[in-house]
C-alpha cells in the first residue's frame, strides 16, 4: 500500500523555494519563528524574495542579507528590543519595497488567499496613510447600506514556513503553547507549506493522540516536514523554551557596531545548523532557556 512520507531536511525545504517568490513566515515578532529554515535560506543563494511576516529577527536577518525585494508587514519587533535594528537599517537606506498593513488587515489578507477570493472587505485602513501608500482600493457594498470599505487584497503565498512542536511523516502537526498566532492561515494561504518541528514522529496517532487538539490545521496543507530541534532559537517556543534575549541583544547591538552583515553572518547564521546550535549550547542549551514573563 502506498504511504505518504513528507519528511525532508531543511536544505531540501530551501531547495523547493525559488528566487522572486512570495514567502510567508509564521510566528509573531520574536515568537515561534521557523529560524532554522530562515538560517538555511541565509546559507543559500535564494534572493529577490517578497516576504510576508509578522516580523521579528527573521525579517531583520533576511533584509540585512539582501534577500528581500519587498516586505509585507504590520510591524517588525523583538519585543523587549522594540525596534528591529537590521530592519531599520534596510528601511532607512531605502533598500526594500514595502507594503505596510495593520495587523488585522494582514491576517484578513491571508484569509482571502486561503479562500481564493481576490479581497475581503474591512473598515480597517480608513482614515490612515496605509490606503494611499499601499495603493489599496476601496469597494462599495452592493446592498442598501452602500458602505464604502477597504478591499484588503489576498496575500497569496507561493510558500509558507512555520515551526511547530511535533510532526509526523504524513504531515500531521501539533502546535502546542498558549498562542499559535496566524500560522494556520499562513499554511492555508500558501501553495506549499513547510513545517519545521522540534520532534518528528512516525505516526501522531501512536505517539501523541492525547494532544490531538493541538493539530492546528489538517495535513493536506502541509507539503514537507523537517525536524529541527531548537529550530525557533533565538525566538520563544513555549512551552518548549523561551527566547534568548541575551543573544538577541548581541544581534541588535551588532547592527550598530560593526553594522556590517557580512561581519556578523558567521555567528548569526553559521556554516550549518549543527554549528549554529553548538554556539548556543546545543539543543539542550536551547531547551533550557526560560520562558519570558509578560
Amino acid at each position: 500500500m502506498p504511504t505518504i512520507d513528507k519528511t525532508m531536511d531543511a536544505a531540501a525545504v530551501v531547495s523547493r523555494l525559488r528566487n522572486g517568490m512570495t514567502l510567508g513566515i509564521g510566528g509573531w515578532g520574536p515568537r515561534r519563528k521557523p529560524m532554522a529554515l530562515v538560517r538555511e535560506i541565509l546559507r543559500s543563494d535564494l534572493t529577490d524574495l517578497t516576504l510576508v511576516s509578522y516580523g521579528g529577527p527573521d525579517v531583520g536577518m533576511l533584509c540585512a542579507a539582501g534577500k528581500v525585494r519587498k516586505l509585507v508587514f504590520a510591524f517588525v519587533s523583538l519585543d523587549e528590543i522594540p525596534l528591529e535594528p537590521w530592519f531599520r537599517k534596510s528601511r532607512e537606506a531605502g533598500a526594500i519595497e514595502v507594503l505596510e498593513l495593520d495587523e488585522g488587515m494582514f491576517q484578513w489578507g491571508l484569509k482571502a488567499a486561503a479562500f481564493s477570493v481576490p479581497f475581503l472587505p474591512t473598515r480597517v485602513g480608513l482614515g490612515t496613510d496605509l490606503l494611499d501608500l499601499g495603493a489599496l482600493k476601496t469597494v462599495t457594498s452592493p446592498y442598501d447600506d452602500g458602505e464604502v470599505l477597504v478591499a484588503m487584497p489576498a496575500l497569496k503565498l507561493d510558500a509558507a514556513l512555520i515551526h511547530v512542536h511535533r510532526a509526523d511523516r504524513r504531515g500531521n502537526i501539533q502546535a502546542l503553547g498558549p498562542d499559535t498566532y496566524y500560522d494556520d492561515w499562513f499554511a492555508k494561504a500558501a501553495d506549499e507549506c513547510f513545517a519545521s518541528c522540534e520532534e518528528l514522529v512516525d505516526a501522531m496517532e501512536v505517539s501523541y493522540p492525547q494532544d490531538v487538539k493541538a493539530n492546528l490545521f489538517e495535513r493536506c496543507f502541509v507539503t514537507g516536514v523537517a525536524e529541527t530541534p531548537g529550530g525557533a532559537h533565538p525566538t520563544t517556543m513555549p512551552p518548549a523554551y523561551g527566547w534568548d534575549m541575551g543573544w538577541l541583544k548581541k544581534y541588535a547591538a551588532a547592527a550598530k557596531a560593526p553594522g556590517d552583515w557580512n561581519a556578523v553572518a558567521e555567528w548569526v547564521v553559521s556554516a550549518s545548523e549543527a554549528d549554529y546550535l553548538a554556539t548556543v549550547g546545543g539543543p539542550e542549551g536551547v531547551a533550557a532557556l526560560p520562558l519570558p514573563v509578560f
Binding site: 525596534l83 532607512e92 480597517v124 482614515g127 498558549p178 498566532y181 514573563v293
Partner: protein
C-alpha cells in the same frame, strides 16, 4: 510621603477606562497597564484583561510577577482570535503611547521624516493602530508632554485615524472612532471641543494652562474644571499591590511628587 506624579497619572488613566461595559482593557506600558488594573479593581468590574500573553485573568497581573504570584487564568484570548473577539467587535479600550499625535487625534507609530520609500527614522510600523481606532475606544498616555509629540500640522504618517475631515472617504463608516482621554505628565485632555477638538480638562497640581499650551504644537481649548485628583489611600494601596517592585517610579523623569514644589 505624598503620592507621586506617576501615581496621579495612574488614577487619571483608570478614570479614562471607566465603563459599565464588559470589554477588554489594554494598557500598553506600566502606567496605562496599572490604570487599567486599578479601574478593574475599583469602579469598572466589567473590564476584562489578559495576562499579557494569551489568557484572561480576573485579577490584574502585578508588574513583573512570576510563578505563583501570577493569577490563574479564567479565560482565553490569544492573538489568533484577538481581531474577531476584541478589536473588530468593538469590545476593547486600548491606551497606548504613540510617537506623534496631531490636533485631529491622528497618531503615528510608523516612521518619522523622509519618504515612505526611505523614512528618516523607521519605527515599529502601524501595528494594530488602524484597526484599533476605527473599531473601538482609545486613549493615550504621554509621559513627556512636548511639541515633538503633540505636533503642529499633521503627524508624519497617519497610523491611526482621528477626526480629520480631509482624511474621510465619502461612504466610509467612521462612527466607531471614539478617542477618549489623553493623560500626560502635565494634564488630562479630551476630544470634547467643536468637531472633536482637543481640550484640557484638568491640570496636574502646580501646572498652568499656558504651560501646557507652550508644550503643544497646536492650539488647545481651555476647558479646565480643576486639578487632576490626587490618589486616595485605597487607590495607593491597590497601586502598590499591582506594582510591588515599583516599576512606576521609572516612567517619569526623576519620579516627581504629584504636587510639584512639594518635597
Amino acid at each position: 510621603m505624598g503620592a507621586t506624579l506617576a501615581e496621579l497619572c495612574i488614577v487619571a488613566c483608570a478614570e479614562a477606562f471607566r465603563t459599565s461595559r464588559e470589554i477588554i482593557a489594554t494598557g500598553i506600558g506600566p502606567i496605562p497597564r496599572l490604570g487599567a488594573g486599578l479601574a478593574r479593581l475599583t469602579h469598572s468590574p466589567g473590564l476584562m484583561m489578559t495576562d499579557g500573553e494569551a489568557f484572561l485573568v480576573e485579577q490584574p497581573v502585578p508588574l513583573g510577577a512570576t510563578g505563583g504570584e501570577r493569577p490563574a487564568p479564567a479565560g482565553y484570548l490569544p492573538f489568533s482570535r484577538f481581531f474577531d473577539s476584541a478589536v473588530w467587535t468593538g469590545r476593547r479600550h486600548a491606551m497606548v503611547t504613540p510617537t506623534q499625535i496631531d490636533r485631529f487625534g491622528q497618531t503615528n507609530l510608523s516612521a518619522l521624516g523622509g519618504t515612505h520609500a526611505q523614512p528618516k527614522v523607521q519605527m515599529l510600523g502601524a501595528r494594530g493602530f488602524p484597526g484599533n481606532a476605527i473599531y473601538h475606544p482609545n486613549s493615550m498616555f504621554i509621559p513627556a508632554h512636548s511639541p515633538r509629540v503633540f505636533v503642529a500640522g499633521e503627524v508624519d504618517r497617519v497610523s491611526s485615524p482621528g477626526y480629520n475631515p480631509a482624511r474621510r472617504v465619502p461612504g466610509g463608516n467612521y462612527g466607531s472612532i471614539d478617542l477618549r482621554r489623553i493623560v500626560t505628565d502635565l494634564c488630562v485632555m479630551d476630544f470634547g471641543g467643536p468637531d472633536h477638538a482637543i481640550r484640557v480638562v484638568s491640570l496636574h497640581p502646580g501646572v498652568t494652562f499656558a504651560q501646557v499650551q507652550d508644550a503643544t504644537g497646536f492650539e488647545l481649548i481651555d476647558a479646565v474644571e480643576g486639578e487632576t485628583p490626587l490618589p486616595g489611600e485605597e487607590q495607593l494601596a491597590l497601586i502598590e499591590r499591582l506594582d510591588p517592585r515599583g516599576f512606576r517610579a521609572r516612567v517619569l523623569k526623576d519620579n516627581p511628587p504629584a504636587e510639584r514644589g512639594a518635597s
